[in-house]
């Protein structure tokens, strides 16, 4: 803070630079202060932390002592403020810093992105049913739920919706293809599987294929993993694909090609197909050329059928084709030039990296030794290589495990993986490894082949050496080191080398600039090659990577090609500033629950054939698994609200805005918070469902509350028959740092008791109090009416303990009745605790920016209790409402007017200078 306090001279000599004012807090006090300044002609900035003005008063059902409906008397005030030409609202905003001095403050504020344009939104609520995300409704004290897109209450001001969004969830951040797992899982929770599938397909056309073979980076980052186990994200999108297969699509697929620029894609693997898909969605005519007889690339020729049934692959490729992508198989492309000649305006190279790497030891060419890519391709094409009984697979990646499992299916009796690192470093999908072990696979870890033993050029065995792990290498994995003298021989009939793949040495890509590894050099952001109009992606750029990275490249290339053809900057704004939701931001207060098991084909049966091992979730198990998602970012960015909004008011890319306000005076009206009554464990709040606090009670009896005004017990939803109100909790308690009386609780307690009787005159109502402080205008009369007319019982005595009957859920209040000198146990079925009030959270931050020292209880001290009771100790800063001490509504409103008066005395001096 950089407040300048040196100019504490008399006000008449003030140098007042700005005649504008800032009011911090849009509750009833702040609104009054703003109005009373604005009515004098001063421009007022009214800042409110939450999305709406109204403060606590908007939550309250009725007001004492007249039992006026709180919302009804507040609403006209809300519209008066929002319509006032001199008041500028800054809702959903925070103070960042304050500098300057009286008459010349500079206040920096952050206007948080609400992702809804206040001017366009008409609060029609069409977005609400579209939103799949439900969160506890803070406005209803979390007794009910609201959607991620919401309006806190019907009369909220400004009359606009707000989206609660913490950022991008870890799962989405982890996905190279920007698949939005929280998005489709949120929709799955609601059973909206078609909608969910659409969300998936926005970024990836292979829900079923990648639902089987994706490495699932998302699951590695899933925050649920911090609680128990990560959500089975891959299996969930597989379910979506299965669901559509079973039930058919909900909308017909239409190809909408409305652009003229033809685009060629070379290679019908995941990268090429994804690129084609995204381009046709934009309306471009796309032709994919594939040298092989069938499309699919590595998905078809590299992945065994028991993992990825061919019909699934075929259907998803067909689905892409139906969107207008022309796929020409058995059509090798001669040269890039030839494509250009044919009139293609842009080209995407995605020819893959299907060449198997060599081990680099002698004897690799011996008979009986296969390379994984050939081995798998042959097996996948139905022309498998012959195998003996003992097979060793060298390597630990997916191709190694696939090869091993294919070998098992081909009848090998003893199949062993030889891998030079430990189990921890094994790069293959863990569940695949697990499945393979079930099928009888041996793992020979920390072992490296050093020599191939042959006889008559035929494989006989492998000389291996044991390894140990040393320091981490550049990949972060611990580097394996040879253990001298640990050599041994492994007798095998066949050996399959699966130590990675690389780009085929010869091919189309040679026309572009390539790296030393033979991959095409591209701009990593845009995938542009050195040739204009030629883009490249997938394994031919990355070297052997994962299918999902290839899909990601396809999508990015499509964006680049579109921009290239539209002649707009290809590189600009490609990296989005996104906040990855941190673990500590996520509500982890959930019971642990393990992942839903994936049903599998039995081991005995499956190793005999290539039928799919994983059977997929049923609808019930899929929903159950979806429910495990913590919904880290709250808004899941499914963007269905965007579709639902007829006014185009929703913008998910909206950013926080930081502005500086020059003001002459500041009014603090930040309100209060209720004391956390769980701090008194003996009263049972938080332990017993039928012990609630007063604000929860307000919402329960409110017609727009979670029960539409039905006063029920939270344990069983039944109407209470006997209610006890416990007063003075978290007030007048020196030991808990709340030495003062909270001033409002007696009256709101009595009001709440009266309202219980209004709801049902048969309810027995008792108030346990220390003193009844009915000091304001009409209060004592109201207190007497509660006793005499409504028959509310008042027992003077602090409650010692609340006990629960486990069976009935009923509560016993133990109290020392000080009028009758007796300790009494009184049974109720609902207990309402009336919490005291405390300074609001965040007041200390604002105070420290202002250089204002709060008193020991956290309230704003005033300059002179008797003569200047709304002036703070900082010149130009005024206090009203509950920031300086608890107050009821009229006292808060009066203080708001008073603060306005004191502030305008300063502001008017700027006026005079003009």
């Amino acid at each position: 803070m950089t407040i300048d306090h040196t100019s504490k001279k008399s006000t008449s000599k003030l140098d007042v630079v700005s005649s504008e004012a800032l009011v911090i807090g849009g509750g009833v006090a702040g609104m009054q202060a703003a109005l009373d300044m604005a009515n004098q002609g001063f421009k007022v900035h009214l800042l409110e932390k939450t999305p709406s003005l109204g403060g606590k008063m908007a939550m309250i059902d009725k007001t004492f002592p007249t039992l006026d409906c709180s919302a009804c008397i507040l609403t006209p005030r809300l519209s008066e403020v929002s319509r006032h030409p001199n008041i500028e609202l800054h809702t959903y905003s925070d103070v960042i810093s304050v500098a300057g001095r009286v008459g010349d403050f500079k206040v920096k504020i952050r206007k948080r992105a609400r992702y809804v344009d206040e001017d366009k939104c008409s609060a029609c609520a069409d977005c609400v049913p579209a939103c799949p995300v439900e969160v506890p409704n803070e406005f209803d004290q979390s007794l009910g739920f609201r959607k991620a897109i919401y309006q806190p209450f019907p009369q909220a001001t400004p009359s606009t919706y707000t989206i609660t969004k913490l950022g991008t969830p870890a799962c989405r951040e982890a996905c190279p293809a920007d698949v939005n797992p929280q998005g489709f899982i949120s929709l799955m929770k609601e059973g909206r599987f078609h909608d969910a599938l659409r969300i998936f397909r926005k970024s990836n056309p292979f829900p079923g294929v990648l639902g089987r073979v994706c490495i699932a980076f998302c699951e590695g980052e899933c925050v649920r993993g911090e609680l128990d186990e990560s959500v089975s994200i891959r299996n969930l999108h597989r379910f979506l694909a299965d669901y559509e297969r079973k039930h058919g699509p909900d909308r017909p697929i239409e190809a909408k090609i409305d652009k003229d620029e033809r685009i060629a894609v070379v290679g019908a693997g995941p990268a090429g197909l994804a690129c084609g898909y995204h381009l046709v969605k934009m309306g471009y005519p796309v032709t994919v050329f594939e040298a092989q007889p069938e499309a699919g690339g590595l998905l078809r020729y590299g992945i065994p059928e028991y993992r990825l049934p061919r019909d699934i692959l075929a259907e998803e490729i067909d689905w892409i084709a139906k969107h207008g992508v022309k796929i020409k198989t058995s059509s090798p492309v001669e040269s890039i030039k030839s494509l250009k000649k044919e009139g293609f305006k842009a080209i995407f190279l995605a020819t893959g990296a299907s060449n198997s790497n060599k081990l680099g030891i002698a004897g690799e060419e011996a008979k009986g030794i296969y390379h994984a890519s050939d081995f798998l391709e042959r097996a996948n094409s139905g022309k498998p290589y012959p195998l003996g009984e003992k097979v060793a697979v060298i390597g630990g990646g997916d191709a190694a495990i696939d090869s091993a499992r294919v070998a098992i299916r081909l009848g090998a009796k003893e199949v062993t993986i030889v891998y030079r690192r430990s189990h921890v470093e094994l790069p293959a999908i863990p569940s695949e490894v697990e499945d393979a072990r079930e099928e009888g696979l041996n793992l020979l870890l920390l072992t490296n082949p050093i020599e191939i033993l042959t006889s008559k050029d035929e494989l006989r065995g492998i000389r291996c050496i044991k390894m140990k792990l040393g320091e981490p290498d550049h990949s972060g994995r611990r580097r394996p080191q040879v253990i001298r003298g640990s050599e041994f021989t492994l007798i095998v009939d066949n050996m399959i080398i699966a130590v990675g793949q690389s780009v085929t040495p010869k091919g189309l890509h040679e026309e572009c600039d390539c790296s030393e590894w033979g991959t095409i050099k591209v701009n990593p952001l845009t995938l542009e090659t050195n040739m204009e109009g030629v883009f490249a992606g997938g394994d031919v750029v990355l070297g052997p990577a994962t299918a999902v990275k290839a899909v990601a490249h396809g999508k990015e290339a499509a964006i680049s090609i579109d921009r290239f053809l539209r002649k707009v900057n290809v590189e600009a704004d490609r990296i989005e500033e996104r906040h990855r939701v941190r673990v500590e931001e996520v509500d982890m207060e959930k019971p642990t629950e393990p992942r839903v098991d994936m049903p599998k084909h039995g081991v005995a049966g499956r190793i005999q054939s290539y039928t799919e091992v994983e059977l997929g979730f049923e609808q019930e198990s899929a929903t159950q698994e979806a429910e495990r998602c913590l919904g880290c970012a709250i808004c899941c960015e499914c963007e269905l609200c965007v579709e639902a909004c007829t006014r185009e008011a929703i913008d998910h890319k909206m950013q926080d805005e930081i502005i500086e306000l020059p003001v002459g005076a500041i009014v603090l009206a930040a309100g209060y918070r209720l004391y956390d009554v769980s701090d008194y464990p003996r009263l049972g709040y938080g332990k017993f469902p039928n012990v609630i606090h007063a604000m929860e009670y307000e919402r329960l009896i409110n017609a727009s509350g979670p029960t539409h005004g039905h006063l029920i017990k939270l344990s069983d939803g039944k109407l209470p028959k006997s209610i006890g109100f416990i007063q003075c909790v978290g007030a007048r308690d020196v030991n808990r740092g709340v030495p003062e009386c909270s001033r409002v609780c007696c009256m709101y307690g009595i009001k709440n008791a009266v309202m219980a009787k209004e709801h049902d005159p048969e309810i027995d109502v008792t108030i346990y109090y220390a003193d009844i402080r009915a000091f304001g205008k009409g209060f004592e009369e109201f207190y007497n009416m509660a006793k005499d007319r409504f028959g509310i019982k008042f027992i003077r005595g602090r409650v010692g303990e609340v006990m629960e009957d486990r069976e009935t859920g009923n509560l016993t209040v133990r109290v020392e009745n000080t009028d009758e000198h007796a300790i009494q146990d009184i049974e109720h079925d609902l207990v309402v605790i009336s919490p005291g009030i405390q300074p609001p959270w965040g007041l200390d931050v604002i105070a420290s920016e202002l250089g204002l020292e709060l008193d020991e209880t956290g309230y704003v001290p005033v300059k002179d209790e008797l003569l200047a009771p709304v002036d703070t100790t900082i010149p130009g800063v005024f206090a009203c409402g509950c920031v300086d001490s608890p107050k009821d509504i009229p006292d808060s409103v009066t203080a708001g007017s008073a603060a306005a008066m004191r502030a305008t005395i300063i502001l008017s001096q700027a006026e005079k200078k003009e």
């Binding site: 002609g41 007249t66 006014r647 003193d771 205008k777 009369e781 709304v870 009229p890 007017s897 008066m901």
Partner: protein, 581 residues
């Protein structure tokens, strides 16, 4: 546009997204409206309140030369001002706009009956169109505001209010009946919170007020006549000694006449011994090192207080309320006196130390061994004066036994009650009082400083018992209200007021008594006298028009003709425009 001009009505049916259109067949309603008399344009639109909708109205006014606009949308509560502004921007008088509520009154409450809802919507639109044809231009009036505030009462409240207004740059006339400014506070010895005496508190304020060039002080004076309306009052102030009168033009008024400290005759032996005093009287005893007994001037060593004297008496008018200030005041006085006296006892019903620093006073008193003893409700302590000695007997609830005490001085914490002369002030300024005898604010929750008389504010203990700090908050708050009116220079007054047709007036005075705002008077210059309405005072409530036996009063913008036309449109609709039956 002249009134004789033929109405050309535009009808705009709002979908309000799905809010209305989801239930009501808006296209059908708009179509029906086309066939209504004088309607030259009718349409439906997604959101009339949106910029696009507003522009549509303006464009259609231009294109079709519309001179009346009906928007069928939501409650006028929210958007009547919006659409009035739109028609004004389109060049029409704001009173030529008519709003039909198809949302709150139709689609929201008949959500499950779309057909019936559509019929009702058609009925309402037909009625609105009929009324629109009868709407008349009304002038938009405003009155100038005299930039001067009359502050009545020179206690701490009046002083603070006067000073704030003057410092803000407006003139103040400060009137007090007493010869000296400062009110009760100036006389008191034990102020809370803090350790200043009343004169120390109020002294600097009085000095500042006296020195201020914008404040004219009239002590020993009272307002004897008051007339006019917001921004344009005239006050006649008379000096109570020399009876000299002066008149002032006044824009706004703050009534801060304070309270009376109740003299509790009939309670606890008050009046039977000079040693039984009220808290106010104790406060006014000359401060000195030793507290002296009023009876014999000897130093006192034992003192007792009794709380709630003349307060909190159910059923006793003017004494039902809690006097709010006494609990902390007693705690403060007791705590101060305990330093000088041997024994200090407080008898109480309950302790209401509710405010900032009050509990601290209470705890301080107890920590100094001030004895607090609670007596049961309905068993008041018994006080006897025997041989000049004050004897007390009472039941202590906690000890559950009868106790006795003989204090040298007994202090009765007596009530704050409305001033004995409050009735005059009430009448003078057209105010109202609540059951407690104090002034009634405009709204007990949200408008505690304004009154039903526009331009007249109340502040401090004139509204209800309050301590000095709270009264000062009131003072600044009321000052803000006054300045808010004056700073604008003029105030717009509603044109939807009542008007007397003088030919029909039978001079019966019914309306004069019926008007809750004192807006109707008899013009005595006519013979017979005729009622006339001061429009700035009229709230347009219609009470007078309803009461007038001669039908001599019309409500502008809600004329009988306009209302009857709607009824007729509902009951006698052309066949093709019938909605419900």
């Amino acid at each position: 546009m002249t009134e004789a001009e033929t109405p050309r009505i535009g009808v705009f049916i709002c979908h309000c997204g799905h809010n209305i259109a989801g239930v009501v067949d808006v296209v059908r309603v708009a179509k029906m409206a086309e066939s209504l008399p004088h309607v030259v344009f009718s349409t439906d639109d997604m959101f009339m309140c949106a910029d696009a909708g507003q522009q549509l109205i303006k464009d259609m006014v231009e294109e079709h030369s519309l001179n009346r606009v009906v928007v069928a949308s939501c409650s006028p509560r929210m958007h009547e001002p919006t659409f009035r502004r739109v028609v004004e921007e389109a060049g029409l008088n704001r009173y030529l706009f008519e709003q039909t509520n198809l949302r709150e009154h139709v689609s929201w409450c008949h959500m499950r009956e779309p057909e019936a809802a559509t019929e009702k919507a058609m009925d309402l639109v037909r009625m609105s169109v009929a009324r629109a044809a009868k709407l008349e231009n009304l002038p938009v009036k405003s009155v100038k505001v005299t930039p001067r505030t009359l502050v009545v009462g020179g206690g701490i409240t009046g002083l603070r209010a006067a000073l704030d207004i003057a410092n803000r740059g407006f003139d103040v006339v400060l009137v007090d009946k007493e010869p000296k400014l400062g009110g009760h506070v100036a006389k008191w010895t034990h102020m809370f919170t803090g350790d200043r005496s009343g004169s120390e508190v109020v002294g600097p304020l009085v000095k500042e007020v006296k020195a201020h060039s914008r404040i004219e002080i009239l002590t020993n004076s009272s307002v004897i006549e008051f007339d006019g309306y917001i921004g344009n009052f005239e006050a006649t102030i008379e000096n109570r000694k020399d009876k000299a009168r002066s008149k002032f033009d006044i824009g706004t008024v703050i009534v801060a006449i304070g309270f009376d400290a109740f003299k509790p005759h009939g309670y606890y032996g008050y009046g039977e011994s000079p040693d039984i005093v009220t808290l106010a009287e104790l406060q006014e005893m000359p401060p000195r090192d030793r507290l002296l007994k009023p009876s014999d001037g000897k130093p006192a060593s034992k003192i007792a207080f009794i709380g709630c004297v003349g307060s909190r008496e159910p059923g006793k008018r003017g004494h039902e309320h809690c006097s709010r200030h006494c609990c902390p005041a007693v705690a403060k006085a007791a705590s101060d006196l305990k330093d000088r006296l041997d024994e200090v006892l407080i008898l109480y019903k309950s302790i209401r130390t509710y405010g900032r620093g009050h509990e601290e006073l209470h705890r301080l008193a107890r920590s100094k061994h001030v004895i607090y003893s609670r007596f049961p409700d309905g068993e008041d302590p018994v006080i006897e004066v025997v041989d000049g000695k004050v004897k007390m007997r009472w039941t202590d609830i906690y000890a559950d036994e009868e106790l006795q005490f003989e204090p040298d001085i007994l202090v009765l914490a007596s009530a704050m009650v409305a001033r004995s002369d409050i009735d005059e002030t009430t009448k003078l300024f057209g105010l109202t009082r609540s059951r407690d005898g104090f002034f009634n604010p405009e709204h007990i929750k949200l408008a505690p400083l304004t009154t039903h008389t526009a331009g007249v504010m109340i502040a401090g203990a004139a509204q209800a018992p309050k301590n000095a700090s709270e009264s000062v908050v009131d003072a600044s708050g009321a000052a803000a209200k006054a300045v808010g009116i004056m700073a604008r220079g003029e105030v717009e007054i509603e044109s939807t007021v009542s008007r007397v047709i003088s030919e029909l007036c039978s001079s019966c005075h019914t309306c004069v008594t019926a008007c809750p705002y004192g807006a109707i008077e008899m013009d005595e210059s006519k013979d017979p006298p005729i009622a006339f309405v001061t429009e700035a005072k009229c709230h347009g409530c219609g009470t007078c028009a309803a009461a007038c036996p001669s039908s001599a009063i019309i409500m502008l913008h809600s004329t009988d003709d306009q209302i009857m036309t709607m009824v007729q449109a509902y009951l006698c609709a052309p066949p093709d425009t019938i909605g419900g039956t």
